[in-house]
């Protein structure tokens, strides 16, 4: 058994959901989309008590808005873990989020025109 499989490619030795204290869903974070924008509120600067290093890292990274997917990539954590951590931060009023139009509510004409204008200008 002890054949040294636990190299870098094997991933972290800490189980991913250890970071969330075993929680795999969070009321506030469960529905966050991969593209949901997360942004730290300036008013949250003094509320670090009880936050884990991962919470604080999100808080730092989201001084400018970042998506859930970008957080997962930058922090090298699964999307599900990021959702739970962001949920904690939403509940504590540390971050705000904005999600894409959901489900039946497809993107509207105004939004599509904005995207079209933006792409054309690239």
């Amino acid at each position: 058994m002890d054949d040294g499989w636990y190299d870098e490619a094997a991933g972290p030795l800490v189980r991913p959901y250890a970071i969330t204290a075993g929680r795999t869903s969070a009321s506030a974070g469960a529905n966050l989309d991969v593209a949901t924008q997360v942004m730290t509120l300036r008013s949250a600067e003094t509320t670090d008590g009880g936050l884990t290093p991962e919470h604080l890292q999100i808080k730092r990274l989201c001084q400018k808005p970042l998506s859930v997917a970008e957080l997962a990539a930058h922090m090298n954590l699964p999307l599900g873990v990021i959702r739970v951590l962001c949920g904690d931060l939403i509940e504590r009023g540390v971050v705000i989020v904005r999600s894409p139009a959901q489900r039946v509510e497809a993107p509207n004409r105004e939004l599509l025109q904005a995207v079209l204008d933006g792409l054309s200008k690239l």
């Binding site: 991969v34 808005p65 989020v97 894409p100 939004l111 690239l122």
Partner: protein, 198 residues
């Protein structure tokens, strides 16, 4: 959607948090999805992972690996800042068919999908076309013109893929920014044309 936390008086940033929009780039393995994402993205394409746990039971074909409880599915994506108010994310779909659940999440609220096809292996894109057609999500077919692949006419490709006439088919070079950009523009125009009138 803005979270309830923005309504409690600490919303000084609410006007600067952009609305995210998504476009999906789908297609078979090796067709150039990540290449296309990378050629138009303002950041080098990032990769993230989702863990499959219980959800993989009966889906993941890992017979004899009873103790395996997690699998990861990798997701490549890029980003284009459209304006201070809008940021566009391009997500490449995970190649393996067993990750349909991930496609569902990606497709939710998306503008639509660019289905990339390789004329040498059209069959690898059938699943993606079927997926978006069934869910009535706007999509276009972008033929990634590999240098060594034989060129076909649009109607030949349309017939081979059994794609309805209202679905645009464009020729592109996923490595080229302008070409990838034109495919995205075509998709957004198509999505607008599919909106209900009024």
């Amino acid at each position: 959607m803005v979270s309830p936390s923005s309504d409690d008086g600490f919303d000084e940033g609410a006007d600067t948090i952009p609305t995210p929009v998504k476009i999906i780039v789908a297609g078979g393995f090796g067709v150039g999805k990540t290449t296309m994402v990378g050629s138009v993205s303002e950041i080098p394409p990032l990769t993230t992972e989702e863990l499959l746990t219980e959800a993989s039971d009966g889906i993941d074909d890992l017979a004899g690996v009873e103790r395996k409880t997690t699998t990861t599915v990798a997701l490549d994506f890029g980003r284009i800042t459209i304006s201070p108010k809008h940021v566009l994310y391009l997500f490449g779909t995970p190649g393996q068919d067993r990750f349909w659940f991930m496609w569902d999440e990606l497709a939710r609220g998306a503008i639509g999908c660019v289905v990339l096809v390789d004329t040498r292996r059209l069959d690898t894109s059938f699943a993606a076309i079927d997926f978006f057609e069934r869910r009535k999500i706007p999509f276009i077919v972008a033929v990634n013109c590999f240098d060594d692949a034989q060129r076909y006419e649009e109607d030949e490709i349309r017939a081979a893929l059994a794609v309805p006439s209202h679905v645009p088919i464009v020729m592109c070079d996923a490595r080229k920014r302008d070409s990838a950009k034109l495919a995205l523009i075509r998709l957004v125009k198509h999505a607008m044309s599919e909106l209900p009138v009024g």
